[in-house]
C-alpha cells in the first residue's frame, strides 16, 4: 500500500469517525443513553490518531521527496533545505487543511481530557459541535482538495519547490501558530455553545472557558507577532505590518478575542454581560471562518496568497453556515442566556471593560470595513480602489490610541464604582507622569502630535501598573519582607491580575516599537560599490564584498557589510541577501539587521546593478527591539495568569 493511499484512507476513516461521533452524540442525547454517548466520545478521541497518522504520511512523503504526490511536487524540490521538508506540509492549501484538521482533532482530545468533571452535561453537545467542525475540513480534503492526489503516469523526478518567500526560519513558527490560533477559536466557541444548549451556561465551566480562550488568544497573538517579525526581516513586506487583507483577517478574531477575555472576567466576577460574551465568541468564530475564506480563495488581492485555491465558494458557504448556526442558537436560547446588565457606576471597572470592548470592536469594524469597501465599490460603482496602510493608520491610529489610554485608566477603577479619593490617589502620579512625557516630547521634537500622545499614553499605562505594584507590595515590605520577594509574592498571590498586567506591559512594548518605527525612522537609499563607505546616524558602514552563489533553483547574492566604530575598528559584520528564484520569477530579499534596545540598523540590498555595485536602502529604526521583546513577555504574562491556583497543593 502506497503512502498516498494510506493517507487518504485514513482521512476517509476520520470522516466516518466524525460522522459517527456526531450522530452517536445526538442519538445519545435523545435517548439519554450513556453507552452511546461514550462510544461517540471514543470515536472523537480516535479522530486524533487517524489524522495524526495521515499527517505523518504527508510529512513522510515530503521528507522522502515522493514526487508522485502532486502536493509534494508543487511544494518541494530536491534543492530545498531538507529542514523545510518537515514543514512544507503546510506551505499550500491542501496540506494546510490537513494541518488544521490535525490541530482541531488534537484540541478535541485535549479538551475532552482536561475538561472539569462537572461539565459532563454538555459533553455530548461539545463532541458533536467539535466533530462537526472537524468534519468540514476532512470533508473538504476528501472531496475537493485531496493532499494525497498522485500522478498516475509520468512521475516527475524533481518538484516545483516551495514558494520562495516561505523559505525562512519563521516558517517553523508563524504559519502553524496562526492557523492553530484561528482553528482553535472553535474550542471556546463549542464550549459556550454546548453550555448554552444544555442550559448550564450560568454556573460552571466559565473558568475552563477562560483558560481555553486565553490559550487560543495567546497562540493567535504570538502567531501574529511572529508574522510581523518575519515580515520585518524580509524586505518587500515593508516592515512589520502593512494592513494587508490577510493580515487583517488574522487580526480581527484576535481583537474580538481580546474583548472576550476581558469581558468574561466581568461575567465571572459579577455575572453580567452574559449576552455580550456569547455574541463576542460567536463573532470571533465567524470572523475566523471569514479569515479562512479570504485566505483560501477570497475575492481580495493580498501579498500573502500562499493557500489560495478555487475553493472560495466552499469556505464562503461554511462561513455563512456558521453565521446562521450562531444566529439560530442565539435566538432560540436568548432567554437562557439573558442576564440583568446593570452597571453601578460609570466610573467602575465594569464600565472600563465595556469601553475597552467598545474600542476593540471599533478597530475590528474599521478593519473589516476597509477590507470589504473595495468589494462594495466594485459591485456598486464598478470602480476598483485599494484600501491600504495609509487608511488604516489614519482611521485606526486614533482609536488604538484611545484604547491605550483606557488601558491606563481602567486598572485604577474598582468594581462597582470608585470613590473620588481613591481615584485621585491612584491616578495622580500616573497622570502627572503622562502630562510631563507629553510636554517633553511635544516641545522637543517636530514629530506629529500623535507620537507624543502615544508616548504619553504608554507612560500613563506603565506608571499605573508600576504604582499599582508599589501599592500592593508596600504592606509586605513594611512587614520586613525584601522588596524583590514582595514583588514575586504579589504576583503569585494574584496571578490572574498581575499576569494580565504583564501582558499589558508587553502590549506597551509593542506600541513603543510601533511609535519608534512610524515616527522616528530615518531612511536613505544609495547606489554603492564594494569598498565604499556610508555614514548614517552614528554608524559607519563599509561594503566589504558581494558574493554570488548559484543553486539549482535559485541565484543568491550576498552582500557583506562591516560596521566600524570611530576608531575604524570593526564592531560588527552584517549580511544582506537578495535571492532570485527563476521558476517563480520572484526575488526574496533578506535585510541585514544590527539590533539594539535603542535602535536597529537595517540594511537592504534592494537591487544589484552589476558585480560590485548595488542599490542599498538603509534605515535606522528606533525602539523596534522592544516590539520583539514584547513577544516573550506576552507569553510569560499569559502563562502566569493561566497558572492553576492550586498548583502547589497538587
Amino acid at each position: 500500500m502506497s503512502i498516498s493511499n494510506l493517507g487518504l484512507s485514513l482521512l476517509v476513516i476520520t470522516m466516518n469517525l466524525c460522522i459517527y461521533s456526531i450522530i452517536g452524540s445526538i442519538i445519545g442525547i435523545r435517548l439519554g443513553n450513556s453507552q452511546i454517548k461514550l462510544s461517540a466520545k471514543n470515536a472523537a478521541y480516535c479522530t486524533f490518531f487517524t489524522t495524526l497518522i495521515s499527517s505523518m504520511c504527508l510529512i513522510y512523503a515530503f521528507v522522502t521527496n515522493d514526487f508522485s504526490i502532486k502536493y509534494v511536487f508543487m511544494h518541494s524540490n530536491l534543492s530545498m533545505d531538507p529542514a523545510y521538508t518537515w514543514v512544507a506540509m503546510y506551505a499550500g492549501n491542501e496540506g494546510s487543511l490537513l494541518y488544521i484538521a490535525l490541530v482541531i482533532s488534537l484540541s478535541i482530545l485535549l479538551v475532552l481530557l482536561f475538561k472539569p468533571k462537572d461539565m459532563y452535561e454538555s459533553e455530548p453537545h461539545l463532541i458533536a459541535i467539535m466533530s462537526g467542525f472537524l468534519l468540514f475540513f476532512i470533508g473538504v480534503m476528501v472531496f475537493f482538495a485531496n493532499p494525497f492526489d498522485t500522478f498516475q503516469t509520468n512521475i516527475p523526478s524533481d518538484g516545483r519547490g516551495m514558494n520562495p518567500l516561505l523559505a525562512h526560519p519563521g516558517m517553523f513558527s508563524h504559519p502553524p501558530l496562526l492557523m492553530a490560533g484561528l482553528a482553535t477559536i472553535s474550542i471556546p466557541f463549542s464550549l459556550i455553545t454546548s453550555m448554552i444548549l444544555t442550559g448550564t451556561f450560568r454556573n460552571n465551566g466559565l473558568d475552563f472557558v477562560r483558560t481555553t480562550s486565553l490559550i487560543v488568544w495567546s497562540i493567535l497573538g504570538v502567531g501574529l507577532l511572529l508574522g510581523s517579525w518575519w515580515a520585518y526581516t524580509i524586505l518587500g513586506w515593508g516592515g512589520y505590518w502593512v494592513w494587508d487583507p490577510i493580515e487583517n483577517v488574522g487580526l480581527m478574531p484576535w481583537l474580538v478575542m481580546t474583548a472576550f477575555i476581558h469581558s468574561i472576567i466581568v461575567q465571572r466576577r459579577r455575572g453580567m454581560f452574559r449576552v455580550w460574551n456569547v455574541l463576542l465568541i460567536f463573532l470571533a468564530f465567524v470572523l475566523a471562518q471569514f479569515g479562512m475564506f479570504i485566505n483560501r480563495g477570497g475575492p481580495v488581492v493580498s501579498v500573502h496568497s500562499f493557500a489560495a485555491s478555487t475553493l472560495g465558494y466552499i469556505f464562503l458557504g461554511f462561513m455563512v453556515f456558521s453565521a446562521l448556526f450562531c444566529s439560530l442558537i442565539f435566538i432560540a436560547n436568548y432567554n437562557k442566556i439573558y442576564s440583568e446588565n446593570k452597571i453601578e457606576s460609570v466610573i467602575s471597572r465594569e464600565a472600563a471593560f465595556l469601553i475597552n470592548n467598545f474600542f476593540l470592536l471599533a478597530i475590528t469594524f474599521v478593519t473589516l470595513w476597509g477590507l470589504i469597501f473595495p468589494l462594495i465599490n466594485e459591485v456598486f460603482y464598478n470602480e476598483t480602489v485599494t484600501v491600504g496602510a495609509p487608511y488604516y493608520n489614519a482611521v485606526n491610529g486614533p482609536v488604538i490610541l484611545l484604547l491605550l489610554f483606557i488601558m491606563g485608566i481602567g486598572p485604577n477603577l474598582s468594581w462597582k464604582g470608585t470613590s473620588n479619593s481613591n481615584l485621585k490617589t491612584n491616578l495622580l502620579y500616573p497622570s502627572l507622569i503622562a502630562i510631563i512625557t507629553f510636554t517633553l516630547f511635544f516641545l522637543s521634537s517636530n514629530k506629529p502630535i500623535m507620537s507624543s500622545l502615544a508616548l504619553s499614553s504608554i507612560a500613563l499605562v506603565l506608571s499605573t501598573i508600576i504604582f499599582e505594584w508599589f501599592r500592593g507590595s508596600r504592606s509586605l515590605i513594611k512587614n520586613g519582607t525584601h522588596w524583590l520577594y514582595a514583588f514575586f509574592k504579589l504576583i503569585s498571590n494574584n496571578r490572574k491580575k498581575y499576569g494580565g498586567y504583564i501582558v499589558h506591559i508587553s502590549i506597551l512594548l509593542i506600541a513603543l516599537g510601533v511609535v519608534g518605527i512610524n515616527f522616528y525612522q530615518v531612511k536613505i537609499d544609495k547606489v554603492v560599490s564594494v569598498g565604499e563607505r556610508i555614514e548614517i546616524g552614528n554608524y559607519k558602514i563599509e561594503i566589504a564584498e558581494i558574493n554570488e552563489n548559484n543553486f539549482n533553483d535559485r541565484r543568491e547574492k550576498v552582500a557583506t557589510f562591516l560596521i566600524l566604530d570611530s576608531n575604524e575598528n570593526i564592531v560588527n559584520t552584517l549580511e544582506g541577501n537578495n535571492t532570485f528564484y527563476p521558476t517563480f520569477n520572484m526575488a526574496s530579499i533578506r535585510a541585514g539587521i544590527l539590533s539594539s534596545p535603542i535602535e536597529d540598523l537595517y540594511i537592504i540590498p534592494s537591487d544589484f546593478i552589476d558585480n560590485d555595485t548595488m542599490k542599498l536602502i538603509i534605515s535606522i529604526n528606533p525602539l523596534v527591539w522592544w516590539m520583539w521583546v514584547g513577544g516573550p513577555i506576552f507569553i510569560l504574562g499569559t502563562l502566569i495568569s493561566l497558572w492553576p491556583r492550586n498548583f502547589n497543593k497538587s
Binding site: F293, G297, G298, P299, V301, T310, G312, Y313, L316, V320, A323, S327, I372, L375, I376, E378, V379, T384
Partner: protein
Amino acid sequence: MKLFLSIILSFITIGFFIILIISTIDREGSQGRPGLNEVSGTAEVKFEVFNKIYENNIYGNEISYDEYDAIVLDFWASWCPPCIQEAETLAEGYKDWKDKNVKFIGVALWDNENSIKNFIEKYGLQYDVFMDNDGKYAIEYGVKALPEKFFINNKGKIVNKYIGPINEVELKNLIEETIKNNELP
C-alpha cells in the same frame, strides 16, 4: 429599540454576505488580477490619449508617425512567456495589415538589445520595435501586465486596451473596431 437594532444588524449582515458572494462570483468569471499572464479581455484606460513616442527604434531608425488609420501599440518583453506565445500572431498580423494603413509599434520593456534582436529575427517581426528600459513609456500608458496592447485611432484616441496574449481573430476584430471608430466624431 432592541428590535430596531437587531433588524438593522441582520440587514447589514445579510448585505455583507451578498457582497461577498457577488464578488466571489465576479472573481471566478473574470481574471482581472494584474500580474497574471492569463489575463485577457479589454479594459478601459483612464489615460486615453495617444502620446507619441519620440525615440529611435532598435536599429537606430526614426519612427514615423504619418497618418495611419490605426496604430497597434504593443508593450512586451523577450523574456515574457505569453509574449512569446503571441509573437507569431503579431508577425502575421503585421503582414496582413501593413497594406491597409495600420501601424504596429512594439515597445520592449526591461530588456536588452541582443535578446530583442534575436527575438525579432526568430519570429520575423518586421515592424518598429524600440526599447523602454526605464519603464517611462509603460508608466505613461499605465501598463499593468505584459503583453499589453493599445489600439489607437487616427484621431489619437485609445479605443481599446488588451491585456494578455492575443489571437488572430481578436486582433482582427479590435483593429477593425478601431478603424470603425475613425468615422465617429
